[in-house]
Subunit: 188 residues, 2 copies
DNA sequence: CGAGTTCATGTCAGTGACTGTCATCGCTGT
DNA sequence: ACAGCGATGACAGTCACTGACATGAACTCG
């Protein structure tokens, strides 16, 4: 065993989730999170660039999942089909962690600062999707609108899925309902 | 004339726009903005809750314009028609200020923090639109998807409109193109 | 006119987020 | 054994933001 207990990063994430949930994001100092994790404030900021980011540590891996799934779809599929395949993979990866995600979402909803950060994360997803759709031959402008629509729809579906009281529907179903709702809106 | 020069708030906004543009948002302290405006840091934070918000001072008035225009549409119009009327009014109000908006947008694009804030502002617009669409008889879930789609589309169109090099199209045209692009995406 | 009120601002002290820098010391490889 | 690496601690510093209180011109009311 090393000089320090292992998994400092994970311990910080767990401590943050607990403390933010108990006392609220604004009431918890970075030093308090670090202390709970048996580390110092300085180490907190070595692992995470700021107090918010600690709640979004898994985001990147999920984005890769999503992107990889879209990229795996045959090129002769439509952009919509490719996107839907990505969302299928993504929602599949999310489904088992619903409980933790609900807790995390409850924290995020209570803090405007965290909500800001969440929106930026989604914007990064949209940017990634835009790139892929372009590579698949969609025009740049169309790709942006498509990607933004897809991520926005996903976001709203995700919010419904994690809103309390919980609905029974699977996340992917909510996403599909979202797309049909958007289409209904635009047709009339 | 009062004890102080008038229009402190406006002077702060002008100073912030200039300094942020010159040196970049992160490099400018609130104290520096205040000093340029002939005021103290404390007064800066009396007018604006934080360093970012000073760039979004007119947002609320614009949102009211938008909301009022949507509300003014006869109730027998479709949600899409009502939304489009709101966007028509909004884009009309924006069109004359393009130059200033381009400068502001350039600043915002260079700072992740400011980008965060911008997205939250748009989210507030979506929430307002959701409320109105509900009042007009649209179901809650449909209203959310519709409102989010509309504001997202507007945002992307606005980004294109303020991107350099500037395009010739009017903002409202870009919004309409956006809606058709979204529809194309969803149909296939 | 004079006393009290308001209101935008100044002053000052404090907290907490974040950063730069250097020291520490188990572990790893030679 | 020795050298260097890498995660951490220690500490000082900057800056965003806040609370409390002071100031003085303008405004109000008798």
């Amino acid at each position: 065993m090393g000089r320090w207990k292992p998994d400092g990063r994970r311990r910080l994430q767990d401590a943050a989730l607990k403390l933010y949930a108990e006392r609220g994001f604004a009431e918890v100092t970075a030093a308090a999170v670090a202390e709970r994790a048996g580390l110092t404030e300085r180490t907190f900021f070595r692992h995470f660039p700021d107090k918010k980011e600690i709640l979004f540590g898994d985001e990147e891996a999920l984005r890769d999942t999503f992107v990889a799934a879209v990229a795996a779809v045959p090129v002769d599929a439509t952009p919509y089909e490719a996107t839907l395949a990505g969302l299928k993979a993504l929602t599949g990866a999310l489904q088992p962690s619903r409980e933790r995600l609900v807790l995390r979402t409850r924290i995020i909803r209570q803090s405007p600062e965290l909500r800001e950060r969440e929106l930026v994360k989604l914007a990064a997803w949209a940017a990634a999707l835009t790139t892929i759709l372009c590579e698949r031959g969609l025009g740049p402008a169309d790709a942006v609108f498509a990607a933004e629509t897809a991520t926005t729809t996903f976001r709203v579906a995700f919010e419904r899925w994690t809103a309390e009281p919980l609905v029974d529907d699977a996340l992917f179903e909510l996403v599909q309902e979202g797309f049909t709702a958007v289409e209904r809106f635009l047709r009339r």
